[in-house]
Amino acid sequence: MLLRFLASVTALLLAWGVAQEAEGTQPPEGRPFAALTILSNGRQTIDLVTGLTTLPDGGRLMDAQTGVEVLAQVIRYVEGEYIEATAVTVTGVFGEVTAEALRIDVKTSLLTATGELRLARDGLRVSATSLRYDAVDQVAVFDGGVAGTEPTFSADRVLLDILTGDVLLDGRYEYAGGLFTMRSPEVGGRLQLTLQQVGEAVTYAATTEVSPALLERFKAYL
């Protein structure tokens, strides 16, 4: 009897989830992360009082506008407010990010990832303590012991222009460019890495004199 009840509740919840998926494909406000498609890998519970939905078996989030797709082992979200996930892999135009935790503020279109964070995209591999991705500006900011392996660098902070792939190392940095390992002055500095396609290879042109356009692009984050 109890099993039959649980089965019918689950069926009801699944039916609601399918209804939710159908509704999430329509972006009601035109903002990134405002229209999410959420697919649960298993159970899905809803706190009817707070509106908090939990996917304890993990699942997948997809934002049709930004193309951001989140795979996580646990997902918790409040419709129109935020999404939190743990043990996540996020893919999008910025590449692929793995992190211990993720939070998407739907209202501000801000994606924040923390813990064992790694970014991989064409010509760029970054590890950091935290990532803040503004889906509106399409700027990603890595903080806390940022290190890159393709190309090899380290910096206090790294800013990534998702649209162009250009990178700005900020603060004290080290950049290994072929024969050289460039180091910032003692007081810190900035190094612009401009993405270049040389034949099949993706590479970066480095310069300490940051272009005004890039500074303008990152103005809100410097």
Binding site: F180, R183, V198, E209
Partner: protein, 664 residues
């Protein structure tokens, strides 16, 4: 701060600058950099210092590009400053590999020289520098050439030019050579295949010429001015004022030179030409010296060949015909043997023994008729002697020269003998110097060849004492120096023109006070032989001199100080003899240098005002002189004359290190 120190100061990482190292190649200190992956380059800019790992060289530039990042590494820079050892170089462009540094349109500054080159290639492994179309200038001379290689301090130049003209585009003259070797430490040049270029004219020089800054400093014009006494006959050939250029090289071998000029240039003397070729050849143990040509309008031949028979014995054959300037004319063929040996004795004393023997056929001639001999005949002679010296001892230095000789004249049946004894003693104990000497010739004066080899008896005692030194100093540039001395000559036998007795006794004393640019002299010189041992030919007088000199004044042109000194001088002569007592003359003179950038004049004028004081007569012009110095980028030439009491002397001088002053 040294150049290298200055460079090093630029090459340190600061709060705003960064540093990057390429292992085993270089370190770069920079403000900004930009990598250019598609061009395989990195551009450093905003003030860049590049130093070699090891510090052998340093480049400072606004911008430096490191090229060939994935291949052959190199450097490129515009308007760089390169420090290489104690050399500093600037260039329009620098290109470098891991093996060489190449500078284009470069200038170079070193401690002893500076210059420029179209290209300079520095070999980073060997340290050699190869230059093309370069000029390097030191203090005294400049070397330029088609190409050169600098290894250490030695510069080997191809198609070289050496000139004292520094800083001029087209040098009016230069010595050219196929090759040249420049020692930058010794500041000397050895040129091979030398040609003198005077404008468009080219004159062959000796195949090997060596120039040093020292030799150029001592350089004198190959011009000689002489005044040969006429002995009361102005028509005497070769007498009067003569001017000649000496040592002009002939041919490429360098052992033949030419003297050319003229004598008797002053009226009423008779002009005569001078054209003498001089040869000097030395081969192993043989030497030949020959002079032939015209001297004072008369032919002259002088050939002398020597051969070393043993290390202490030379055999000589000589031929002579004519009259050297001011000498007795004669014709002679002569053979002889000359021996000289140092006798080994322990300690500082030295002993040298000499001996000689000769046979000659000699004809003494008149200067007016060389073809007609006045005295003719063979001469057979022998001589021996020794010179011994103690060297310096606590009691002074002693030396003695002796000679005994005999000459036989078969045609005249005469024999002349002569013996000389010449001991001297000298003691130097600063500030005192004492000297005593005795020179005596005992002879029968029997030679028929008067003016050639006739000896005269002599018994001369000379003595002198002198003290000189600094008496007082105040500060760094004020001091007083003084000197006092006495010297005397006593002849035991009459000499030509002088009777026996005290023929000279001179006492003098003087003080000089120097303060900054001023110097003041005061001195008195007493000639007392005429009062101590009166004789008709002996004078006695005292000369008093007061003089003030100032350097660097007056300045007529801004930034140009005179090289010569301004001077005022008073010189008085007081007679001490009863037949010529009192003030004989009082000369007042002044010399004023007038300096301009390329010209300095120093006129002098003086008047004897003694007639004015003694008799109310007008002063007599006693001195007028003028030195004219033309200062060029090639050095300076001074031509001058002095007329003192009607006696005219001329002077020529070259200073290859004096050039127009650079205005700040």
């Amino acid at each position: 701060m040294t150049l290298a120190g200055w460079a090093a100061a630029q090459c340190t990482a600061g709060p705003d600058t960064s540093q990057v190292t390429i292992p085993d190649y270089l370190a770069v200190y920079y403000l900004h950099f930009t990598s250019l992956p598609d061009e395989d380059e990195v551009r450093f800019y905003g003030g860049v210092c590049v130093t070699a790992v090891g510090g052998e060289w340093t480049v400072i530039a606004d911008e430096v590009t490191v090229v060939g990042l994935s291949g052959e590494l190199g450097l490129r820079a515009a308007a760089p400053m390169l420090y290489w050892g104690d050399l500093r170089m600037q260039a329009a462009n620098l290109a470098a590999t891991t093996e060489t540094l190449v500078l284009q349109q470069a200038t170079i500054d070193g401690p002893d020289f500076s210059g420029d080159a179209t290209t300079m290639v520095l070999d980073l492994f060997t340290g050699a520098v190869v230059m093309t179309e370069f000029t390097l200038a030191g203090v005294a001379f400049a070397v330029s050439g088609e190409s050169a290689e600098l290894i250490g301090q030695t510069l080997s130049v191809t198609n070289a030019e050496v000139t004292t003209c520094i800083g001029v585009e087209q040098t009016p003259y230069a010595i050219q050579g196929v090759r040249a070797t420049v020692d930058l430490t010794a500041r000397s040049v050895e040129l091979q295949g030398g040609v003198l270029r005077l404008g468009a004219l080219r004159i062959g020089l000796r195949p090997r010429i060596e120039l040093t800054e020292e030799s150029l400093e001592r350089f004198t014009l190959p011009l000689q001015v002489s005044n040969v006494p006429d002995g009361g006959d102005p028509a005497r050939p070769g007498s009067g004022v003569g001017v000649r250029l000496v040592g002009l090289p002939l041919g490429d071998e360098g052992d033949a030179t030419l003297d050319i000029g003229a004598t008797g240039l002053d009226a009423p003397h008779t002009p005569g030409a001078v054209a003498l070729v001089r040869l000097a050849v030395r081969e192993s143990q043989q030497r030949v010296n020959a002079t032939f040509g015209v001297e004072g309008g008369l032919p002259l031949l002088d050939v002398r060949a020597e051969r070393e028979v043993t290390p202490w014995l030379d055999a000589t054959v000589s031929l002579y015909s004519g009259a050297a300037a001011g000498e007795t004319p004669y014709h002679e063929a002569r053979v002889g043997l000359n021996a000289e040996a140092d006798v080994p004795i322990p300690g500082p004393p030295s002993l040298t023994v000499t001996a000689e023997a000769f046979a000659a056929a000699t004809a003494l001639a008149s200067i007016y008729d060389l073809a007609t001999p006045l005295v003719f005949g063979p001469r057979l002679g022998a001589a021996a002697g020794f010179t011994a010296a103690t060297g310096r001892t606590a009691a002074g230095s002693f030396s003695v020269r002796t000679r005994a000789e005999a000459t036989y004249y078969p045609s005249q049946g005469a024999l002349q003998w002569a013996v000389r004894l010449n001991p001297t003693w000298r003691l130097d104990v600063a500030p005192l110097a004492l000297q005593l000497g005795y020179d005596t010739w005992l002879t029968n004066s029997a030679s028929p060849f008067e003016g050639l080899d006739r000896r005269r008896p002599l018994a001369r005692l000379t003595a002198s004492a002198r003290a000189a030194g600094q008496l007082a100093t105040w500060g760094e540039d004020r001091r007083v120096t003084g000197s006092a001395g006495v010297r005397a000559t006593h002849d035991g036998l009459p000499t030509s023109g002088n009777p026996a007795g005290l023929n000279a006794f001179v006492a003098d004393a003087g003080l000089t006070y120097e303060t900054g640019v001023w110097a003041f002299d005061a001195s008195a010189t007493a000639r007392l032989a005429g009062v101590l041992d009166p004789a008709p030919s002996r004078d006695a007088s005292v000369t008093y001199v007061l003089e003030a000199r100032r350097s660097g004044w007056p300045v007529l042109q801004e930034g140009v100080e005179p090289h010569e000194q301004f001077a005022v001088r008073a010189e008085a002569i007081q007679g001490l003899l009863a037949d010529d007592p009192g003030l004989r003359r009082l000369d007042l003179s002044v010399a004023v240098p007038l300096a301009f950038e390329n010209l300095e004049l120093r006129p002098s004028i003086g008047f004897d005002v003694a007639p004015l004081i003694e008799s109310g007569l007008p002063p007599i012009l006693s001195l007028h002189a003028l030195d004219v110095t033309v200062i060029t980028c090639c050095g300076s030439l001074t031509v001058g004359y002095t007329n003192k009491d009607g006696a005219v002397t001329a002077s020529f001088a070259i200073d290859l290190e004096r050039r127009p002053m650079k205005k700040e």
